[in-house]
């Protein structure tokens, strides 16, 4: 536990030093957020609601999703794959610790830094420029915090799993990119899932993807209430466990296969 904390803390500090990248990320995320607001406003036109979501809710949705891009590394994360390809994985495997937990700790530090440096400023900027909906009760805030934490764990495991493809092929980049494109659609990042046809939503719900973003959004907007929230959080927890086990098993097989490149 201490080790986990120490690794996360170093990783957090490291993120803080990437100031220029953070500011660039902030500006980009906010700019595209404004674009998305414009598109959604046009889409709503005179309608007050689309599939049970008000325009204000939709605007909040764009703000929230733009804010957590960095926190969840939605637009790509190739660190494990790259370390397999450069051979850096070798030096990490020489350290007496679980490789999955090693990366998870470091990703936690990264995620928390992104939360502080990107998510909060973007939400604040949204609150200044647009009408948005905030959670209304302490319970809702608490549920949101739990959902965000679980969403990060699911996102981490999905990204880690995709990166493990690097153990099997020297050309895993395409595969990992594809996984991120899937995330883009199936998490409910691009559009709230409730805008899609029913059969599609039901299909998505069989995968871990909606639990990365859609659940967080629906709790934030107050779409889910009472027992629905409990079910959503338990489903997230279930995916955390399933994906954690999958990561460990596939990792073990990958390490067995490992052929470290270079002399």
């Amino acid at each position: 536990m201490r080790l986990f904390f120490e690794l996360a803390r170093r990783s957090f500090q490291r993120q803080l030093t990437y100031r220029a990248a953070t500011i660039a990320g902030l500006v980009t995320n906010f700019f595209f957020g404004v674009l998305r607001v414009a598109v959604l406003t046009a889409f709503y036109g005179v309608q007050a609601e689309v599939n049970g979501l008000s325009l204000q809710g939709a605007i909040t949705f764009t703000g929230l999703t733009q804010a957590i891009i960095g926190y969840l590394s939605l637009f790509g994360w190739y660190e494990v794959m790259n370390s397999i390809y450069t051979g850096a994985v070798a030096t990490d495997l020489l350290k007496p610790m679980g490789y999955y937990r090693f990366w998870m700790a470091q990703d936690l530090g990264r995620a928390v830094a992104q939360l502080v440096m990107r998510a909060l400023p973007i939400m604040l900027a949204y609150a200044i420029f647009f009408p948005i909906t905030w959670p209304k009760s302490v319970g809702q805030w608490l549920a949101l915090v739990v959902a965000m934490a679980l969403a990060w764990m699911i996102s981490f495991s999905v990204r880690f799993l995709a990166n493990l493809a690097g153990f099997w092929t020297p050309n895993a980049l395409g595969f990992v990119r594809f996984a991120f494109i899937l995330m883009y659609f199936l998490t409910g990042f691009l559009m709230p899932l409730r805008f899609f046809p029913d059969w599609f939503v039901r299909l998505c719900n069989l995968t871990p993807f909606p639990y990365i973003i859609n659940t967080v959004v629906e709790i934030f907007l107050g779409v889910l209430t009472g027992p629905q929230i409990v079910v959503a959080l338990l489903s997230q927890l279930g995916w955390v466990v399933i994906l954690g086990v999958a990561c460990q098993l596939i990792l073990r097989a990958g390490v067995r296969r490992l052929v470290i490149q270079g002399g």
């Binding site: 120490e6 690794l7 030096t91 495997l93 007496p96 610790m97 390490v255 470290i260 270079g262 002399g263």
Partner: protein, 336 residues
């Protein structure tokens, strides 16, 4: 005493896909890929006792790094056995790596963006090193390796020599029983090399750490190793004392004599004249034919001598001869 490393009939074969040229070749490659097997390590056996420091030598592509990676648990052997410190390295990775240290000269264990000291702190937590032991080791290594000048510098900003010193420190903080060094002096200047050699020697002598060292720099070997193993094409060609190698394959020794007079010719039994320059004559002789003392005795009874010097064949040319002329292969053929 049971050996700390036992390697028995170790093999590692890599299977490579053969690339075929042209479009047709590419299509055929997809349908029926053709494989080529590289026998990187091809039946190696040896034992290592606790506290030894051996040089693991061989030309490029001989299979040195592949062997080290298997010993460190990073590669699974194709066949054969390895038992190190009571563990099968690749099978119980976490328990095993806690008791070894390794430096691969080409890459670093440290965190690229973190200052050296922060990386070392993280290693304390990773290896669960008690604070007192950590501090004691760190103080000792800082001084021996001269880390203070750059301990707060991020690893990415270190020079190669500095990084290598930091990596050596990192590999030893947890008092490993065994240290694997794959080309720890690669790309370093003479001073940096010397410093690293002294450190390795200290770790081996004072701390009793068992060390396996690969290198292309034979002065490393000369300075550090009593025992060497030479491999080529994945096979062990020689395993024994460096001294013996020198005696057996070292070629001729030289005796350089400054005579008090200018002799037009100065023959002596058991040696040949290899060159002359004024009063200075260089003789060549073989260890098994005549001892240096005997030769000097003969010369001084026949001529008047001012000064003399015995020159040993250098290990570098010895080992180069072994690789190039395949001396050891012929030697073992003759023995069979």
């Amino acid at each position: 005493m049971t050996p700390i490393i036992r390697v028995h009939h170790l093999h590692k074969h890599f299977r490579l896909t053969r690339n075929r040229h042209g479009l047709l070749g590419a299509v055929r490659g997809l349908i029926a890929p053709e494989y080529r097997t590289v026998r990187a390590v091809d039946g190696i056996s040896f034992d290592l006792a606790r506290g030894e420091l051996v040089g693991y030598l061989g030309p490029n592509g001989a299979g040195k790094s592949t062997t080290i990676k298997m010993l460190a648990g990073l590669l699974v052997p194709t066949s054969g056995e390895i038992v190190v410190n009571g563990h099968v390295p690749w099978r119980e990775r976490q328990a095993y790596v806690a008791r070894i240290g390794a430096v691969f000269g080409q890459r670093t264990t440290l965190w690229w963006d973190l200052p050296v000291s922060e990386s070392l702190d993280l290693l304390q937590h990773i290896y669960k090193i008690p604070a007192q032991q950590f501090q004691r080791n760190l103080d000792e290594f800082r001084q021996l390796l001269g880390l203070d000048a750059f301990i707060n510098t991020p690893v990415r900003a270190l020079s190669l020599g500095q990084r290598m010193r930091a990596d050596l420190c990192a590999a030893l903080l947890h008092d490993p029983d065994l240290l694997f060094l794959d080309e720890p002096t690669i790309g370093l200047d003479v001073v940096a090399k010397e410093r690293i050699r002294q450190f390795i020697q200290h770790v081996n002598r004072v701390r009793g750490t068992t060390v396996i060292l690969t290198t292309h720099d034979l002065s490393d070997v000369e300075k550090l190793c009593e025992r060497v193993m030479i491999i080529d094409h994945g096979r062990l060609l020689y395993d024994g004392k460096l001294e013996f190698l020198r005696e057996k394959f070292g070629g001729k020794r030289q005796l350089v004599v400054d005579f008090a007079e200018n002799y037009s010719d100065a023959p002596v039994d058991g040696a040949e004249i290899a060159g002359r320059d004024g009063n200075r004559v260089t003789y060549e002789f073989e260890r098994r034919v005549i001892a240096a003392s005997e030769l000097i005795g003969r010369l001084s009874s026949q001529y008047r001598i001012n000064d003399l010097e015995v020159r040993e064949p250098d290990i570098e040319s010895t080992i180069r001869r072994i690789y190039e002329e395949k001396l050891l292969e012929n030697a073992s053929d003759a023995a069979n």
